[in-house]
């Protein structure tokens, strides 16, 4: 049995003594003894009452020759803290609430409504390095894009830029909202994931800002929001499973988005458009990495996930069955963008570039799916089923 001794000096119980007493008692196990040396007579009046209320046992006092008193108490059975553990738990306890990992938690707290409680379904090992990358790669839309390079374009090209930017911004709005649904469900024992998602949300906000600014910067306007896009993005917003959402949004959607941004870079009519597409692509690459890490980690621990993810893709494809191909306003805009304008000779080349883009997207999607852990056949099937909206 452990014993702790403390010197309370002349401090009365109501004058600060508890700040010495309580931490000393916390060091003991139930039944452990604490000796308190005190020169204040009122402590003899107050300590037994305090012990009674707090369920410690007051064992008595012994007068010392110098006039001071030693009070002896035994630590009571209540309020024993759960041992602190800073390791990432395999399963998180909803009753630890917002206690940071590594804190000692008092038992008896309320259960929080977190639902993402399993390490293997929530936190891939790469998350810490991805978070660091995200924090050190932040950029500022107003400062880091050479906006002065934007000049008025011929009307058809200006409209194509406006339409492309509208589509990009609309998709990025969904990428802002979809992860937001899951953030409050992540148990704080896996806070690194929530913190990474926060950087992702910040990235999406910045992307929305630059795409909308580029649409208007040269005097142009926003383009059309099509029903295909709207249906596709709603099917993402309605997802209730974190891993399915990471898969559909980050691996398939944002993965495909990388090829689209690269296309915009390739045919950018000015330096500003090139830079903003490039910078957005670097951010999106990080999101894709997180999604891949998440899915690969979860698949590695739970092979039954293959079936579930495939079912999720099929279900989404079924809800999109009535949609045709790529939304027409976007297909046209990308063609004109690649053509550099409305000249018929250029448009033929632009159309070829657009067809190449679709093929590149399919090939890269298949590669990413294999990278995530799917077989080549599964990867091809899933890529074919992916939404014509890209995202």
């Amino acid at each position: 049995m452990s014993v702790v001794a403390i010197d309370g000096g002349d401090v009365p119980l109501g004058g600060g003594l508890l700040a010495l007493l309580r931490p000393a008692l916390a060091l003991l196990r139930p039944g452990g003894r604490l000796a308190l040396l005190s020169s204040t007579p009122s402590v003899a009046q107050d300590l037994p009452a305090w012990c009674r209320v707090e369920h410690h046992e007051y064992l008595g006092a012994e007068a010392l020759p110098d006039g001071r008193t030693t009070h002896l108490l035994a630590r009571g059975p209540l309020g024993i803290l759960r041992a602190a553990d800073s390791a990432i738990p395999e399963r998180a306890d909803p009753a630890t609430g917002f206690a940071p990992r590594g804190a000692s938690v008092e038992p008896g707290g309320p259960a929080y409504p977190f639902t993402l409680l399993e390490r293997d379904h929530v936190i891939p090992p790469e998350v810490a390095s991805l978070y660091e990358q995200a924090v050190s790669s932040q950029w500022v839309a107003a400062r880091d894009v050479p906006w002065a390079t934007v000049k008025p374009l011929p009307p058809a090209l200006e409209r194509a830029v406006g339409q492309t930017m509208t589509f990009l911004a609309e998709n990025e709005l969904s990428a802002l909202y979809v992860p937001s649904n899951f953030l409050p469900k992540i148990h704080p024992a896996y806070a690194e994931v929530a913190m990474f998602l926060a950087t992702q949300l910040n990235d999406e906000s910045r992307h929305i800002e630059v795409f909308l600014r580029r649409a208007r910067e040269g005097g142009g306007t926003l383009g059309v929001s099509s029903v295909t896009t709207s249906q596709s993005l709603l099917s993402l917003l309605e997802l209730t499973d974190f891993t399915e959402a990471a898969f559909l949004l980050s691996v398939l959607g944002e993965g495909t988005f990388l090829d689209l941004l690269k296309f915009v870079e390739r045919f950018a009519p000015d330096e500003a458009t090139l830079v903003l597409a490039q910078k957005a692509r670097v951010d999106e690459t990080r999101h894709v990495h997180f999604g891949l890490a998440h899915v690969r980690h979860a698949l590695g621990r739970d092979p039954s996930l293959y079936g579930r993810l495939e079912a999720a893709v099929r279900k989404r494809a079924a809800t999109m069955a009535s949609a045709g191909g790529v939304p027409a306003p976007l297909a046209d805009a990308l063609t004109i963008l690649a053509a550099g304008g409305a000249d018929p000779r250029g448009v033929r080349k632009g159309h070829e570039a657009f067809r190449e883009l679709l093929e590149t997207m399919h090939q890269n999607r298949t590669k990413r799916l294999e990278h995530a852990g799917f077989s080549p056949e599964q990867a091809k099937t899933l890529s074919d089923l992916h939404t014509p909206n890209f995202m």
Partner: protein, 268 residues
């Protein structure tokens, strides 16, 4: 009550009484024990209702419990109490500047006391001072008769006593040790101005009372529900905190002897 629902009476000394009893009822119902409660505005009415059989069980202060014992000639059935009801004590707290060295120095001084029906802040501290040889005829009492009928449950008269000590209207004051400890722990006592001088012997506080005519099986169900509440169960924790206990305990009568003595003296 003709049905099997246990009807418990409690006094609404604070709005939180509703939260407490709804919480306890939810726990009982969760255990498959039908229970409901009635809130009274004062203990006198609650005691009469228990005696007339309008409620099965009454959650009584020590004074209400002692009255039930006397009215039933000790035939009433005691069912349980809080851990914090056992070995309650009262404190004589003094203003340091008044220079009192012992309770004998109270002669000629002003002693602030709580409500006339508060066991811990008036009835028993005075009884114990008397027994310790203090001539109360020579002590100037400064009474705070707040919330009469609530038997000191609200604690308002004890807070008035502490206030009177802090601002110099009284040299000494009587308070229950629960309020005294909690006020100190909350940092609301100026330890440079006031300190505890004397502690009374222990006495017991509240008790669940039932009439001897109550069906035995009903009372057993009540005790089963009550004693299954646990401090470290988050569902029970809040109610127990509000009601000021960590554990429900079996009943005992010896802790009320001093109160009966005081009441005997009163009746003479």
């Amino acid at each position: 009550m003709s049905d099997s629902t246990i009807l418990v009476g409690a006094v609404a000394y604070d709005p939180k009484a509703v939260t407490i009893w709804e919480g306890i009822r939810e726990h009982f119902v969760g255990q498959g024990i039908a229970m409901d409660f009635v809130l009274f505005s004062n203990y006198e009415r609650q005691v009469e209702s228990l005696l007339q059989g309008h409620v099965d069980v009454a959650w009584n202060t020590p004074l209400a419990h002692a009255r039930v014992r006397r009215r039933t000639k000790n035939a009433s059935i005691s069912l349980g109490m809080r851990d914090s009801d056992r070995d309650f004590r009262a404190k004589i707290v003094v203003r340091r500047a008044a220079g009192l060295k012992s309770i004998q120095d109270l002669a000629g001084r002003t002693l602030a006391v709580g409500s006339r029906d508060s066991t811990q802040a008036r009835i028993l501290p005075l009884q114990f001072l008397r027994k310790a040889g203090v001539d109360l005829g020579k002590v100037k009492l400064l009474p705070f008769d707040t919330d009469v009928g609530k038997h000191g449950d609200t604690g308002t008269s004890e807070l008035e006593v502490l206030k009177a000590l802090h601002d110099g209207r009284a040299d000494a004051g009587a308070v229950g040790d629960l309020i005294w400890v909690l006020e100190q722990a909350a940092g609301r006592v100026d330890a440079s101005k006031v300190e505890a001088l004397w502690t009374t012997p222990p006495f017991d506080h509240c008790m669940f009372d039932a009439m001897p005519s109550a069906p035995k099986e009903k009372l057993e169900r009540f005790q089963k529900g009550l004693f299954s509440m646990e401090w470290e169960n988050p569902k029970h924790r809040r109610v127990l905190e509000l009601e000021g206990l960590k554990k429900w305990m079996p009943p005992r009568e010896e802790g009320y002897a001093s109160l009966h003595e005081a009441l005997d003296l009163d009746e003479k």
